[in-house]
Symmetry: C2
Subunit: 582 residues, 2 copies
Amino acid sequence: MLRTTTCGALTIANLGESVILCGWVQKSRDLGGMTFIDIRDRYGITQLVFNMDDNKELCESARSLGREFVIKASGLVVERSNKNLKMPTGEVEIKITALEILNAAKLPPFLIDDETDGGDDLRMKYRYLDLRRNPIRNNMILRHRMAQSVRRYLDGLDFIEVETPVLIKSTPEGARDFVVPSRMNAGEFYALPQSPQTFKQLLMVSGFDRYFQIVKCFRDEDLRADRQPEFTQIDCEMSFIEQEDILNTFEGLIRLLFKDLKGIDLPEVPRMQYADAMRLYGSDKPDTRFDMAFVDLTNLVKGHQFPVFEQAELVIGINAKGSAHYTRKQIDELTEFIKRPQIGATGLIYYRHNEDGTIKSSVDKFYDETQLKVWAELMQSEPGDLVLIMAGGTDKVRKQLSELRLEMGTRLGLRDKNKFSALWVLDFPLLEWDEESERYHAMHHPFTSPKPEDIALLDTNPGDVRANAYDMVVNGTEIGGGSIRIHDRTLQALMFKHLGFSAEEAQKQFGFLMDAFEFGAPPHGGIAFGFDRLCSIFAGLDSIRDVIAFPKNNSGRDVMIDSPSTIDEKQLKELQIKTDLR
Amino acid sequence: MLRTTTCGALTIANLGESVILCGWVQKSRDLGGMTFIDIRDRYGITQLVFNMDDNKELCESARSLGREFVIKASGLVVERSNKNLKMPTGEVEIKITALEILNAAKLPPFLIDDETDGGDDLRMKYRYLDLRRNPIRNNMILRHRMAQSVRRYLDGLDFIEVETPVLIKSTPEGARDFVVPSRMNAGEFYALPQSPQTFKQLLMVSGFDRYFQIVKCFRDEDLRADRQPEFTQIDCEMSFIEQEDILNTFEGLIRLLFKDLKGIDLPEVPRMQYADAMRLYGSDKPDTRFDMAFVDLTNLVKGHQFPVFEQAELVIGINAKGSAHYTRKQIDELTEFIKRPQIGATGLIYYRHNEDGTIKSSVDKFYDETQLKVWAELMQSEPGDLVLIMAGGTDKVRKQLSELRLEMGTRLGLRDKNKFSALWVLDFPLLEWDEESERYHAMHHPFTSPKPEDIALLDTNPGDVRANAYDMVVNGTEIGGGSIRIHDRTLQALMFKHLGFSAEEAQKQFGFLMDAFEFGAPPHGGIAFGFDRLCSIFAGLDSIRDVIAFPKNNSGRDVMIDSPSTIDEKQLKELQIKTDLR
């Protein structure tokens, strides 16, 4: 045995024991004739002590150790005179009688410490050193615990984890597939799954009743946003259920995770219609840690010759409580914010509800104070509040004001990372119009069931058809979504038709699923959670990168192993493909 | 709620309850004015009863149901007059008051029954129907339970499950990689991992101490044997350990799985040197459900002018206890068996130890009975035994006799699927000579540590160097293997040199790992189990195919979804590759 215990285990209860520890040199200091070394492993840090008077050779060899050397140290557990009660092992130290260097270490290119001096590129190149740092390693432990909790919960509810294939078939719907040339079937390709969607539905047709999988999925997209080409989902499906069953089951999962991982009793998750979310927050994933809901002023403000409002389809405002003190400069900043190309607004209207009860607006030329008082009534503004108003086309202005609302939430400290607010958003539209391809796309995916009462609208007003689809949102981030699926061949064929598939194309791409529906498919539905995203929320991180052990950068590269890379001509020959660089 | 309970839940305790069940029509029969329908779901089967006299319309609609129709049935739990005590639900039936067809079903192309009339091709094309059959679905449930047990055990021992990347880098060692063209880095390719080997070693360098993962791996090999292009491993690694720690930890895992999944208390797993396994059983994965060990007769039989023995490097025999009654015809069958091209032997020598104590051999021309009695002593044969002897070059004859030993084991009923015998095989050779490439290959992989006492042999007798490598074998099948790894840059570089890598190649391919070793790598080692194989053993199957939900056929095709397939010209353009069919 190389060691008898770990560097996190010894306490005052072990006094007098002979122990052997293995680990990394965290730091070392000489104090007169003594040398103290902190030895670190995954479990903690223990102080080793060497004394020149006791054993000169041993103490000198301890003084020769560099940071991150791997050592094996044997000795006796003794009480520390200078106790560190902040550490579990802080009351003891090990009086060392034998020391062995298991491996030397070059000086790391950055500090292995909670706060490091390493930049992103360096950290990624030496990710194996970055992973030594507590914050990063703790993320991985959190991720592990999360996976165990998910499995325990779902296993307890009779869900079966089934592995679905990674080498599947490329389909034209959705994002871009990664493909894998087949050597045995030259000229043909597998695709890596964007999700196990069709397979989990087939498992329902097979009568598996309750399926889940924590599973890697793949999307070949440009990685501007916080995305990774490979990501992990908690993928679930249930048979003989209604939407209510799914919402209850998975609300239970999320509440368990909050309890297990954060010690938080998440209250019952409120539900909101998609249409209301868009109307009140301009977003299908509103951050409900704070309210600041939109108020519709359109009817109120029309007819006063103010061109911006006269031409607008929608005029909406938010009440930034207690912000009447905002200076002209601060309001200019907000205006700049919404004028940024990503948001693209043209201007901001506002009024200050002053502490003295007077109201001062940026459109005083068009509206007198009596009129503004009516606005204030509708806006429920009080002395001290600042109301921000935007106008324009409905979809556009909602999106823009949504951004401004989030910005104000941040400025007002209403978006605390340690506060959590979850929300179900329900009844998403089934289809959304795509300007570029000039056809409807499935908002969720082509297997989502329309609401039965809306099916008749498919032919006349496809954009108005609501789906049995739902998202869970935490702190303004979509952490999961799903739907009740179509389980009837005719309806599925109709859906493909509305998505612009010919009958032949639909059969070629998804015939196996539609055929399966003819052999007794049960009503079913499911949900998938973004495991990385959920983990990043629990870890209090904005990015998913540091909850992934070996992430890729924005160009899809793993800079540590230097991948992707060129491959041998021989490999290309065997696959019967050629590169064709332009 | 669509249903109030499942089809496996109702017993005599539920008499008088109003229930709603959903499921598939398993079978239906009419008896006078009554109709009985067995409704099936994952949890069981329940009998529904309809009575013409009570409700003619309902009963007639029940009579219209076909096999595999999906129905929802409401009714009252009543006691059965004709009880079936073999079924958990067999004491009750449901007197139906309302019936709804949730989905009709075409007649399935094969029987959904434990024994089916469907051939392999049909079963694979309609795998979603095949998965409805109990034996297949039970395999998947077994697999699920196995995964949960593995995780519970390893989590309990502080192992952390870490997801390693699927899109990695192609390396020339080992089997053929599947590759994935990169769009963002055109002309370059990712590879799918054959195992997370280097990543788990990096996690040890990171101080993760104990890692595991149940993980998909990929190998682009011709699939003659019972192999799948994608397969699953239980992948594990530990730091600051010696071989003994690994053997103990994972023997514990295997014993737990036997207990959890089969209710079997597996005894302590015996250990055998690789050299002994080869000498005694001609195999590095001997089936130890029976002994029938090889006996070396070489010295004994030489010098009697029998050319086959005179020219042989090795003469070995096995004692087929109680088989002296084998007829000439049966012995001819054995001779045919070993002459098959896969085995390639030229002939079989044997003697019968008759019940009357006489010994009759196929080489009586060269050996008299006195001499044969000495053979018998060495072979420990007794009246009633048949001894089978082969001769030739050492490696070849061992392999051939190993096949014959297994064949005799099967014939003698010594290879019962319900009996289990596990074995550790230790101290594998580090390198094996490859005739084709005229160089040594790593027997395990290039990261395996040689035994310290054998390192000196690397330059003089590379083939004699033993590795700190071990396999676990159950019933003659290798279920897992691993090794203590190299954790020193110099030794790793030496190893690559012996494998024919130039220093530049080694740095290009594995520089990240060798660099990592310079920053304080701990001593470490690990093991990986074939999850599919282990599952097939527990399920009593010869093939891994039916423990995989959606397997591929021998040409790497998924015939259900028809994959691989051609992809759009647009996709190829974006990836900047071309097919180049010959």
